[in-house]
Symmetry: C2
């Protein structure tokens, strides 16, 4: 019997998607980031309680789907690990961290990662990142920044936690750099893909 | 009742992996390309008849697993489409094209693509490529080069063939550019991953 899911989506909105600055204006980047967040919210809808975590200044209303918004001054890992710590007492829900730029994500991907056994399940992102983390233990802590995947593997190992892996094309695809935009245009089905096609971001 | 599989692996051996020239010598590139081909051969072993297609000069012996080697002067699409044409009379086997640099590929990925319905099943590669194509119809023709995925989609549509899609992290990961090497080092389990780790190609 699996516990209900608490889905946590970190969203960086100030100077968001800065690595796309060469091909998009600041307002275009913001528009694309918001559209991707909406696509992610649609993918996770109905799969559990949803919290968007962002920084002061982020608009807390109007996200639909009953998503709660939590504002924090802390950096990404501190904010996430604070939430894990609060949740630790009782651990009534498993926790699923989902990056806000997984524009290809589909509901079946949430079901698929949920079906993989392990105290922690890691979904790799292209380039060494960790695009989703499912935690079934209160002991785990995130160590994002840089090539985080082996850090998360080591964290699980050091804590004596069993690790599962969710290798997924869609979950592995975070839209960060200009070369990622072709993924969005070719394989996306949501509003961010429509936006990218309308903006003719990729010449195909 | 599905037909047996004919697995065709195109392998470019002259000036292979040229986009890795900035970080690998010609002989290192050749060694890595050969190791990846061996990993792919292991992933497809036992799943059907295997043919490696390459250019004049490629060593035809010693590939193990009963793989046949076919040498052709034609370019990639001409060579593949010639083989499809020969196979068309009778179509006793379905045809699965597998790129030789899918270093993360596992046997279960071959089973997974085989389970997807469609006259043709396309496995996208990162950046718009098509890393595997399963053909259950003699009508299809390949159109590799550049962003081939939408070309293959259009080909299926124009021919009135149903298309299935196999979205897979491992099958989507062809090792072409320096930025792909981190995938091999972090997620590979075969001899090419060992080689990449020994060569310390990525600083993690």
């Amino acid at each position: 019997m699996s516990r209900p899911l608490w889905i946590v989506i970190p969203f960086k909105f100030s100077d968001c998607k800065s690595r796309l600055a060469d091909c998009l204006s600041p307002s275009e980047r913001m528009g694309l980031a918001m559209a991707m967040l909406q696509d992610v919210l649609e993918a996770v809808a109905g799969r559990g309680r949803i919290t968007i975590i962002s920084r002061p200044g982020f608009l807390a209303q109007g996200w639909g789907g009953g998503a709660e918004v939590r504002i924090s001054d802390l950096d990404l890992n501190e904010a996430l690990n604070e939430m894990i710590g609060e949740q630790a007492k009782g651990w009534a829900e498993d926790m699923l961290i989902v990056m806000a730029d997984l524009a290809l994500l589909q509901p079946e991907d949430i079901d698929a990662i949920s079906a993989i056994p392990g105290d922690v399940v890691l979904a790799p992102g292209r380039g060494g990142g960790t695009n989703m983390i499912l935690m079934r233990s209160p002991a785990f802590r995130t160590c994002y920044r840089g090539i985080s995947f082996p850090k998360h593997q080591k964290m699980a190992l050091d804590l004596g936690l069993t690790a599962g892996y969710f290798y997924s094309y869609r979950a592995g695809c975070d839209i960060d750099e200009p070369s990622d935009l072709v993924e969005l245009v070719l394989h996306g089905r949501g509003r961010s893909a429509c936006l990218a096609r309308e903006m003719k971001l990729v010449d195909i």
